[in-house]
């Protein structure tokens, strides 16, 4: 895993993200999003979070992205060639976002982050699992309720008829 690989992944992530936000074609955006997610997963691996990378691929790409694609298809006639879309207030939005980025970048550079050396763990799934059963058991359970609620909500809203 050389530095080149890292920068490659960063480049893929960011360029595809740029396409996501700028493409006029919704499909292209969705496809680009796929690459972004992959890129992020790659970054996770660089960051010694292999389990998370797996989850990222599974849920984001296997779940969310598919949902998004469904969303695109359900809201546009599949035959329609024109699923392009436009943007608004790009100028102002761009300036605001750049300002914000400047603020963030300044913060990142100036702040003495908490840094501590640590050896690469052999695997992360076990540690995460342990945490989920101890410190974060409650959030784990709450997440299930959240999913229940979301499920129910999505069902209510998309149900046909009465």
């Amino acid at each position: 895993m050389g530095e080149a690989a890292f920068w490659f992944i960063v480049a893929v992530t960011l360029i595809s993200a740029l396409i996501v936000v700028s493409s006029r074609n919704l499909f292209y955006s969705a496809i680009a999003l796929l690459f972004t997610f992959f890129g992020v997963a790659g970054l996770y691996i660089f960051l010694w979070a292999d389990f998370l990378a797996g989850v990222q691929v599974l849920i984001y790409i296997g779940g969310i992205l598919i949902l998004i694609l469904f969303g695109i298809m359900l809201t546009h006639k599949i035959t329609s060639v024109d699923i392009s879309h436009t943007s608004v207030q790009q100028g102002v939005g761009g300036i605001v976002v750049l300002l914000l980025f400047a603020a963030l970048a300044w913060m990142i550079v100036r702040t003495p982050w908490l840094v501590a050396a640590a050896p690469e763990p052999p695997g992360t799934a076990g540690e995460i699992g342990k945490l989920l059963m101890t410190d974060y058991m409650l959030p784990f359970e709450v997440a299930s309720v959240l999913l229940l609620g979301a499920l129910l909500g999505a069902a209510v809203l998309s149900r046909k008829g009465n």
Partner: protein
């Protein structure tokens, strides 16, 4: 409580009771209750006579009795109410009771058949009550209160025939003009109270004597009090209400606007003479002297019989005020006494003529002709002999012809001015005013007599219907005409050229309490001087009077001189006189209208500008236009500060609401912007 106080209390309260009964029950009583008022006033007359008799029996110039109670007791702030009775009080009480009784009796016929007959008597009683309050007061508060109440009764009586706009206006004018004077009066009271801490005459005199109030403030206090007199006694420049007050019924004019109420100012000045500084008195003298002369010159050109008498009253009151100013305040009071008799009589006479004219016109169904205009009269002497002769007696008295009362009092006044001018030669103008007025007085009074009673009737049609007035009206005429003779004032002495007698014995000048370093006018010194100037004054005045009568005789009886030609020759002067020196017009232009305009403008400012202040300037034009068109309307919610602020708020609200575009992404953008703003705010 001695007998004088008891009598005074009855005299004071009885007319009030009559007023109450009349107002509430009057219409239901038999004869509409006139007997209640007349009974009350006659009782007061009897009591006043009794007091008068007591005074004569006592024969003590220093007689004085007081009674008072605590009216307001707020600890450090107290007002004591009470009566002060001395010889001046008693004489004044008698005058008021007498003239009031005469007016009551006179009115029995004069006012017969009036729809508000009982109301009229109620008001007369109210007046009597108030006037007695002025006379009896031993403190400035009761004086001021009665002073205002007199103003009220005068207002009610002048405007008694309120269906006539002129009468209603005259009443209002009288009240307001009087209030102008009263403001000064009030400020004077405030000055005295503030310095001395009491309202009672006794305390105030003692306080001034003790030097608690000195200097300019004392002068100003005196001027303030005098302003009250200026208003009430119709002195220049507040004289304007009195001629208008003739809109009231004639007995009222006789009682209130000739004999008593207008004399209240003089009475007050006589009472409080001791408080006046030299400077105050100078002002008093000049105002009085000028008024005497000034009003007389206006009287020359009046054609309305009551107007002549009204200006004559103003002029005579000026005499009295002049006399007070020169320190001869006893003479002033003496003139007050004699003037009350002859002037009331003159009014009754005039009333008798008018009454008769009224009947004549009524019979002829003539509603155009003015029953008071002397140009419609003439030759009435034969038809109304009693009226004529009694009026003639009064005319002689007022003109200052020997053997009549006016001669004595006027002589005293003129002697006083001479004496004063002798002491302070720079004020030579005062006697000039006095003697000049004497000449003119004689002239216009005889003019009145000649035009009314002598010559050929100018309107024979009316003349035919003229007849002598009924008994109730003639009786007062005769009685008062009798009282115009000098003898009643000089008893037990019978010397037509000297005023020595009971009056001069019982009423003596008291010295001012104003500290010597302020150079007070010492009344006794003036009195002393009067003895020396007595005969010169008499001589000059007789000459003047003779001249005046002669002039009138030539012009109006013998027609040797044509009044019209003379008027033409002296055109500017004539115009001034005929126009009453345009005082009313000047006031209207420079006083009433500006004040009313100011009020309008302030009202407008308050309501339409201030209240709408926050509204944008564009709205202002429209409101201005709407005000111009006489409408003070306002349009619904778009008004007021609140709305102004409300508008501003709503304006910003609209801007802020503009942020709520409904476009989601704008919201998000704004939120981000907000974050950046906060960030900047936080890091700076």
């Amino acid at each position: 409580m001695n007998i004088f106080i008891q009598y005074a209390l009855v005299i004071y309260l009885l007319p009030l009771a009559a007023f109450g009964i009349q107002i509430f029950l009057g219409k239901r009583l038999p004869r509409q209750g006139d007997w209640v008022s007349i009974g009350a006033v006659l009782t007061t007359l009897i009591l006043a006579l009794a007091m008068f008799a007591g005074m004569l029996l006592n024969y003590n110039p220093d007689f004085e009795t007081r009674a008072a109670f605590t009216w307001i007791d707020q600890g450090a702030f107290q007002i004591r109410m009470g009566f002060l009775i001395d010889n001046i009080t008693i004489i004044m009480l008698l005058v008021v009771a007498l003239i009031s009784s005469m007016s009551h009796i006179y009115s029995l016929k004069y006012m017969a058949g009036d729809p508000r007959y009982s109301r009229y008597y109620a008001f007369l009683s109210l007046f009597t009550f108030s006037m007695n309050g002025i006379i009896l007061a031993d403190n400035l508060v009761l004086l001021y209160m009665s002073w205002e109440l007199v103003g009220l009764s005068s207002y009610l009586l002048i405007g008694f025939w309120f269906e006539k706009d002129s009468a209603a206006n005259a009443g209002k004018k009288a009240f307001l003009t009087n209030r102008v004077g009263d403001i000064g009066f009030f400020i004077g009271i405030l000055i005295f109270f503030t310095a001395i801490g009491s309202f009672s005459y006794g305390d105030i005199f003692a306080g001034v004597a003790a030097g608690k109030l000195t200097g300019t403030l004392l002068t100003l206090g005196g001027v303030g009090l005098f302003m009250g007199a200026v208003g009430k006694s119709a002195q220049f420049p507040l004289h304007i209400w009195l001629p208008d007050a003739m809109e009231g019924p004639t007995p009222v004019s006789a009682l209130i606007h000739a004999a008593t109420m207008v004399a209240a100012g003089v009475y007050m000045m006589v009472r409080l003479f001791g408080l006046m500084t030299h400077d105050t008195l100078l002002l008093v003298a000049y105002i009085g002297g000028f008024t005497a002369f000034f009003a007389a010159t206006i009287a020359i050109t009046r054609n309305d019989i009551k107007q002549v008498l009204a200006y004559s009253t103003v002029s005579q009151l000026g005499y009295m005020i002049l006399s007070v100013g020169t320190g001869a305040y006893v003479a002033a009071f003496f003139h007050l006494l004699t003037h009350a008799m002859f002037k009331a009589n003159l009014f009754y006479g005039a009333g008798s003529v008018i009454h008769s004219m009224h009947h004549a016109l009524h019979k002829k169904k003539d509603h155009e002709t003015d029953p008071q205009d002397m140009r419609n009269m003439g030759g009435f002497k034969s038809k109304m002999p009693i009226t004529y002769w009694s009026m003639m007696a009064s005319t002689l008295a007022i003109s200052g012809v020997p053997l009549f009362s006016g001669f004595l009092s006027k002589d005293a006044i003129l002697a006083g001015t001479l004496s004063f001018a002798g002491k302070y030669p720079q004020h030579f103008l005062l006697p000039v005013f006095g003697f000049g007025a004497a000449l003119i007085t004689a002239f216009y009074m005889f003019r009145l007599m000649y035009m009314t009673f002598h010559n050929q009737p100018r309107r024979p049609d009316i003349y035919r219907e003229i007849k002598e007035s009924p008994r109730e009206m003639v009786f007062p005429l005769v009685l008062l005409a009798t009282l115009c003779l000098f003898i009643f004032y000089t008893l037990p002495n019978v010397n037509p050229l000297s005023d020595e007698g009971w009056f001069s014995t019982l009423i003596v000048a008291r010295d001012s309490v104003v500290p010597v370093e302020m150079g007070p006018v010492i009344a006794s010194e003036i009195e002393e001087g009067m003895h020396h100037s007595h005969y010169p004054a008499m001589g000059i005045s007789i000459v003047m009077v003779a001249l005046g009568i002669l002039l009138a005789w030539l012009m109006y009886l013998k027609r040797r001189l044509s009044p019209a030609a003379w008027a033409d020759k002296l055109k500017p002067l004539y115009r001034l006189s005929a126009g009453k020196y345009f005082v009313d017009e000047i006031y209207a232009k420079y006083l009433y209208r500006p004040v009313l305009g100011l009020a309008d403008r302030i009202g407008y400012l308050d309501w339409d500008l201030y209240d709408k202040y926050f509204i944008n300037g564009f709205g202002r034009v429209t409101t201005w236009l709407s005000t111009l068109s006489g409408k003070l309307d306002y349009d619904g919610l778009d008004q007021g500060i609140i709305d102004g602020i409300g508008r501003v708020i709503r304006y910003f609200g609209a801007i802020l609401r503009g942020l709520q575009t409904g476009r989601l992404q704008s919201y998000l953008l704004f939120a981000l912007l907000g974050i950046i703003i906060i960030l900047v705010f936080q890091t700076i």
